[in-house]
Symmetry: C2
Subunit: 431 residues, 2 copies
């Protein structure tokens, strides 16, 4: 990926960061880079994520999915980092294979999803490091049962991606299911470029080598100066802007195919940096659609936002047919792609003209290679930002409370958290 931070400079925007401040910040970037390199070299928890381009073995993934390589529907059962990376990749790329991501336990929605599956031509991809994630295991039990009800043997069409031990590992062993490892030292939100993110992509026939080599090429760009490394330029600029008041980071891809990547980014950013009362709030937006929804706020609301545009340069196009109507004549010579590009440039300029900071992240096109680079680049940007904030980028302690409370409420043990639920303060206003 390439990055353009010109519209985040203090000469353009407020909040903005001056060139001099960036140069001072670059000294911290050098220190952080050294820390990151050491973490990678020592295979430390979390930093290991940045070694994935070297560690991930596409052959191993392809071998595991071989029994189900020709299915028409791939049902991924996972939540958070066990789903978003895979969905980002397969939603970005075209495939004959249909993908379903069961990342919620809404019963009507699960039923609606399963209703339309031809089970004899479908497979399950169940993903949970611990093998005990409540939502994932509940859905897996439901899906397994649906296969059985349809008279289809789920043990012949299930791939398990899990940690070294736990109920899912036991299950894989017992039924001799093809299984892959959630890589050690890699938090879920950083695992898109491992088996966690690539099983569904493999079944969809995507080019796993290109994903990995794209990421490896991005890894090559990591260096001690933000002025030489797109990922660090992005991470350092967002950090600097947050410190100057831009607590919100609206990520706005100008491509429908990248919509899920904004969701993936939102998890990466929120779970990694949202701690110790710190961290930017990621907001998922979409160009051009949100020009007619969020742009008013971005241009004229509080000066607390950075807008991150993600723009692929090339792609397919489609002419706009001519019409006899004079007011619309300017569209008739054009294409949807030209319109999309003009809308992007206009929106970017409209924010700059209002002094609102924005950053452009460019990729050449939406394909496996570029996607690998984008995912890796954003992960490296996040790790750098975590160093600058001084937070523990790789933990997510605040989600534990609700997990215990849920378990307690369902009778899965005694937890003080479950009792706290009953103490809710009410102030109800009813119809």
């Amino acid at each position: 990926m390439n990055v353009d931070i010109g519209n985040a400079l203090a000469s353009v925007a407020s909040p903005g960061v001056s060139r001099e401040s960036l140069e001072r910040l670059d000294e911290q970037v050098a220190v952080a880079h050294e820390r990151i390199e050491r973490g990678m070299a020592n295979e430390e928890h979390g930093y290991e994520a940045l070694n994935l381009p070297e560690r991930t073995d596409p052959d191993e993934i392809r071998t595991a999915i071989e029994p189900v390589a020709d299915v028409e529907t791939m049902i991924t059962v996972g939540i958070g980092g066990s789903s978003l990376g895979a969905a980002t990749i397969t939603n970005a790329l075209e495939s004959e294979t249909e993908t379903i991501y069961l990342d919620n336990v809404d019963p009507e929605w699960v039923s609606r999803n399963l209703e339309r599956v031809r089970f004899e031509d479908a497979a399950i991809n169940v993903v949970s490091r611990s093998g005990t994630t409540a939502e994932t295991l509940a859905n897996f039990l439901v899906v397994r049962d649906a296969f059985e009800s349809a008279g289809v043997d789920w043990t012949e069409r299930t791939i398990v991606t899990t940690g070294e031990s736990g109920p899912l590992r036991d299950l894989a062993d017992r039924h001799d299911l093809p299984s892959l490892n959630v890589p050690d030292g890699v938090p879920g939100r950083f695992s898109a470029l491992s088996a966690v993110g690539m099983v569904a992509a493999a079944v969809c026939g995507h080019d796993l080598e290109a994903l990995v080599t794209g990421a490896a090429a991005e890894a090559e760009t990591l260096t001690e100066s933000l002025f030489d490394c797109p990922a660090y330029a992005y991470g350092a600029t967002t950090y600097a802007l947050d410190g100057r008041g831009a607590g919100v980071n609206a990520v706005m891809p100008y491509a429908e195919s990248l919509e899920t990547s904004a969701e993936w980014f939102a998890q990466l950013w929120a779970e990694s940096l949202g701690k110790d009362d710190l961290g930017q709030t990621p907001v998922r937006a979409l160009g051009v659609t949100d020009q007619h929804s969020q742009l008013q706020l971005y241009r004229a609301g509080p000066r607390d936002k950075l807008v991150t545009f993600v723009t692929p340069r090339g792609g397919g196009d489609r002419p706009i047919p001519d019409t006899g109507v004079e007011e619309l004549a300017y569209l008739g010579d054009s294409t949807l792609g030209t319109l999309l590009e003009a809308e992007f440039e206009a929106t970017e300029a409209s924010l700059a003209a209002a002094g609102r900071p924005n950053v452009r992240v460019e990729i050449d096109r939406v394909d496996e290679y570029e996607l690998g680079g984008l995912l890796y680049g954003m992960e490296a940007a996040c790790v750098l930002a975590g160093e600058l904030y001084g937070v523990n980028t790789f933990e997510q302690p605040a989600v534990e409370w609700a997990k215990k409370a849920t378990r307690g409420l369902l009778g899965g043990g005694e937890f003080a958290e479950a009792e706290a639920v009953a103490e809710k303060t009410e102030l109800r206003i009813e119809r």
Copy 2:
């Protein structure tokens, strides 16, 4: 809808609002309510939106869609308020009719959507008040052309919803197309409960009367005290919390069917209140999925957030099959619905336990009546909040700049805005 603001009180959360502050604020609510009532009575611009339950005529909409009532696919061409209300309704409810919303001009995505349409069994719903919205007209020309290429006469299967004059009105007259009015005085983001939002719902066979009567019942609750009116309780609480530091409002429905309603809310809130450097930033979230993504930030990040839960009480369910695994035994006696409910209660309590403000918006179930009430209630909440902020809730001046720049870039006239695009400040960091 019912609202519970207990977890937004200063005794629970920081930022929070004390009961005494709410009582003081209630005096402003009474004044604002009087202004709103006067606006409604005088049919003033914007306030007219709150009269829609009386103005909208389901029969007229049903008559207009009669020629296409049995299609298998309804393609709505519109953007922003011309699409989100309709999508919110049809995505919330089940139907045999497939709906497509072309609310973006991404050429590959438009092509992919059209590829799978059987045009002889499809219809077009084109929506633009001015009849000149670039994205909508470009897509309409593309879709029309796709019908023609398939040998299907689009003039027999197009419904037009537009203003009293303009290219779309002319087109409807010329081809004698069934047409409906975008109601006067009602900004797009407030038009879900008019023809703008209800044409697709009518083709999908949804109960338009129930949508309208649900909204009308919510309208009955508007009264001079926030303690007696759920909509005002919500609007006043969000306003008070914003003033106390909660500049972000994360709307988190606990139902997949309500996911689009969070997008709709985001437009309503951002475009209505995001002006004069004011306005909360809406964030679209989803329970339980985002517990594994955003919750860490909501619970442990900056204290700048309100979380709004939207929870339907009832709905379908699905048992979780039992498993032999001891660690998962607690799930085996349960259902997905019970798990969903426990996760919601746990998440709500986990935020309260961390002193993070949150509000619960309840509806009885996801059906037309309740949805009508929810949409109307949120609109009234937004209008009230606008009065309290003292902004012009019903305009969106900041989106004009980019529209002019786009038009200029495409050769549709001379605009200074288009020239500004070329002056972009660059600071590029490349691979």
